[in-house]
Point group: C2
Chain length 428, copies 2
């Protein structure tokens, strides 16, 4: 066995923002521990910024450079934390082409250009690690990619967006309206001034594509992910869920279905007894069902500069170990080729809430509409309140297309005043 190299490993950071500045700090503060764990010291050789004249607190100004290509050419390990597509993509490709290993937290880039980047890593024999791109500090990429490599993942249900979990949790715990909860999340810095990427599920969809690719050993593109956000969820939906012993969570779901796979992001009713129901505030959690391992859950902080920096540095230690002692981590696993089901063909359970006239015969008419589309009713709960009548109907597993046709007919049925909400039921 060869002794580990004592030559320093040259590290470049691209983008000293919320995460990058913490990575720079931790590299310095833990330099001795990191050297012991890697088997060679890590030396920060530069930090790429667009404007070198702007001072960056905690970063020696002599390390700043706006010459990204020059910097990656000098690095053994490149840490990309700029976000966005360009110039992140070009600099990562240049780094890999030069033989450097890359660690990135850039989920949007991976979801859009993953195949190109992984092929470049393979061509160079270099590592491309991305633990921080999904669920921040939570180790989920490595467990799915390595710990479960001898198993078959059947389903992943993930709370992978902290902003929406915070909003839904505040609505659940305190009865807030959606708009009030979003405003509160913005005031606390959990949500952006324009919260669209979070509340409409775009962020979660990018993570769902990455998780599905890992879990099923094939490429799943962002365009394969059906996406719905939480902006239509009302305080009344949350209250009705509670009355049924459920909570509403925005879930990223990836599951096998009869030789195909299905990947989607949408709000869902989860039983209050499910481990995911206990995930509060801005925390994330990923629930995994595997054929042999059974049910697993991974819980922690899904965002934030310091937690995300922990995930980045874990990857840095892994790829630096490979450089110090030889070898390489697992490549992208993409040998499988299951079809990705369109949402119409997905089966799940549904909860349909209706306002109905308070007169005899309504339930039987409503049940006829479900039966006409082959959608089997599991439970019906009747609600009479202040002169109005309501029905909460939970179905057995049904195809989305049949449920959608049922709902379309319910909207024009005499026996129905209005379809108040339609939510999928997951996790039971």
């Amino acid at each position: 066995m060869s002794e580990p190299s004592k030559r320093p490993i040259a590290v470049a950071v691209l983008g000293p923002g919320t995460v990058g500045s913490q990575v720079v700090r931790l590299l310095a503060e833990h330099s001795e521990d990191l050297a012991a764990r890697v088997g060679a010291p890590l030396e920060l050789v530069g930090v790429y910024v667009r404007d070198v004249s702007a001072p960056r607190q905690g970063i020696d100004s002599s390390l700043l450079t706006s010459d990204g290509h020059g910097l990656v050419a000098r690095a053994d390990v490149v840490i990309e934390l700029m976000g966005g597509i360009s110039p992140a993509r070009e600099l990562i490709l240049a780094a890999l082409a030069g033989g450097a290993s890359v660690v990135t937290a850039n989920k949007a880039l991976l979801a859009a250009h993953g195949p190109e980047l992984f092929e470049a890593a393979d061509a160079a024999g270099a590592d491309l690690y991305f633990e921080a791109a999904v669920a921040g500090a939570i180790p989920i990429v490595r467990p799915v990619r390595e710990s479960l490599a001898g198993d078959q993942v059947e389903r992943i249900l993930g709370i992978v967006n902290g902003t929406t979990n915070y909003v839904l949790d505040e609505m659940t715990q305190r009865g807030l309206d959606y708009d009030v909860a979003v405003k509160q999340a913005q005031d606390l810095g959990y949500a952006e001034a324009d919260p669209t990427a979070d509340v409409e599920g775009f962020d979660a969809a990018a993570k769902a594509a990455i998780l599905a690719s890992l879990a099923f050993h094939q490429r799943v593109a962002l365009a394969d992910v059906h996406r719905e956000g939480i902006s239509a969820i009302t305080a009344a939906d949350v209250a009705a869920a509670r009355d049924s012993g459920q909570v509403i969570k925005l879930l990223a779901i990836a599951e096998r279905a009869d030789g195909a796979v299905a990947v989607r992001v949408h709000p869902a009713l989860v039983p209050a007894s499910h481990p995911l129901a206990g995930v509060h505030g801005a925390y994330n959690a990923i629930f995994v069902e595997a054929a042999a391992a059974g049910q697993l859950m991974f819980y922690g902080q899904g965002a934030g500069g310091v937690p995300t920096a922990s995930a980045v540095l874990g990857d840095v230690v892994s790829v630096a170990r490979h450089r110090a002692s030889g070898g390489r981590g697992p490549r992208e696993s993409k040998y499988a080729d299951n079809a990705v089901l369109p949402i119409d063909d997905v089966f799940t359970r549904y909860s349909v809430r209706l306002d109905v006239p308070d007169r005899p015969g309504v339930l039987s008419r409503v049940a006829e509409v479900f039966a006409a589309h082959g959608v089997s009713i599991e439970t019906v709960r009747q609600i009479a309140d202040r002169g109005t009548a309501g029905l909460v109907i939970s179905t057995h597993r049904a195809a989305e297309r049949d449920l959608a046709a049922t709902v379309a007919d319910l909207r024009v049925a005499d026996a129905v005043d209005s379809v108040v909400s339609v939510l999928r039921i997951e996790g039971d």
Copy 2:
């Protein structure tokens, strides 16, 4: 970059018991997936048993051999699932000396002979992986060893023994007495006929030693682990915990404390709102607090043949990938040398439950005893019930030695009829 070797990787299984028989089954059933993930086929070349004449369901009898040393000499990857110290230790050492990589689930062997085995692996440049030795199917070794390699683990609180969690959960959920819950666990196969190794915390202590070694990058021996079991926990303790908004869990705890580390296994009161409080039945969970990552939790099945086989096969894929494509996984990280605190020097919070005479002045006398030893009281709850009086006293953080001295004085104090229970409070 070299293409992965297509030469089959020779795999030997030592011990086709509950876990081993599942490993053999899954190796066969998933052979194509495993070959794709490894980059070379895995070929089972033999199964070591003591008695080849006993038929083993699902295993081709031509693979059975009682010549363990001959078998490991023919293997690239040796999977040790015999348990016990001998001949597991000798066969693992022989395998490593011959250059084979080893995957084991043998926590007792690692706790007792880990240093010798890791040194043999280093000398041979071979992998020694052991994900299945701690918490069964839950990926915890790899996350702590790799994902958190750039962070500093401050504390681990683990429910790492499913039998005791089942017993305590039944006592909590259904008000069962300890003996009844243990009998039920035995009837269901969760507990052995002699449940000592589980209920007295020996199994958890071996796992605590392994977790602490990984988390703190140093060797922690089984003898360093303070150990108390759950056999003294009563239904009354569980009920009193519930009245205080707590549940009782057997925890494996490893934590940093002023430049030293402390490792212990004992029952503890955990707030009902803590993520560990929601871990029911025979499930395990490991709660990790890291300096940068913050709070993480890993949840799943901690035992059972099929789940544990998943963890074993994940390790098999990792070490086989290294053989197919070069390189090696991280070695044992043992550069740190923190003192391991004796239990007397450990600080935590305590709950002391007393039966006291129902007369004025008792609380002030009891408080004096705590104060005399410098133990600060946080809350007192008085219970008057059917003519008796009780006090439940929760302390601020105090040293075990001071708390023990306090309890010794309480036992002989006029103001105290009896010290009913003393439990540590963790997780808040």
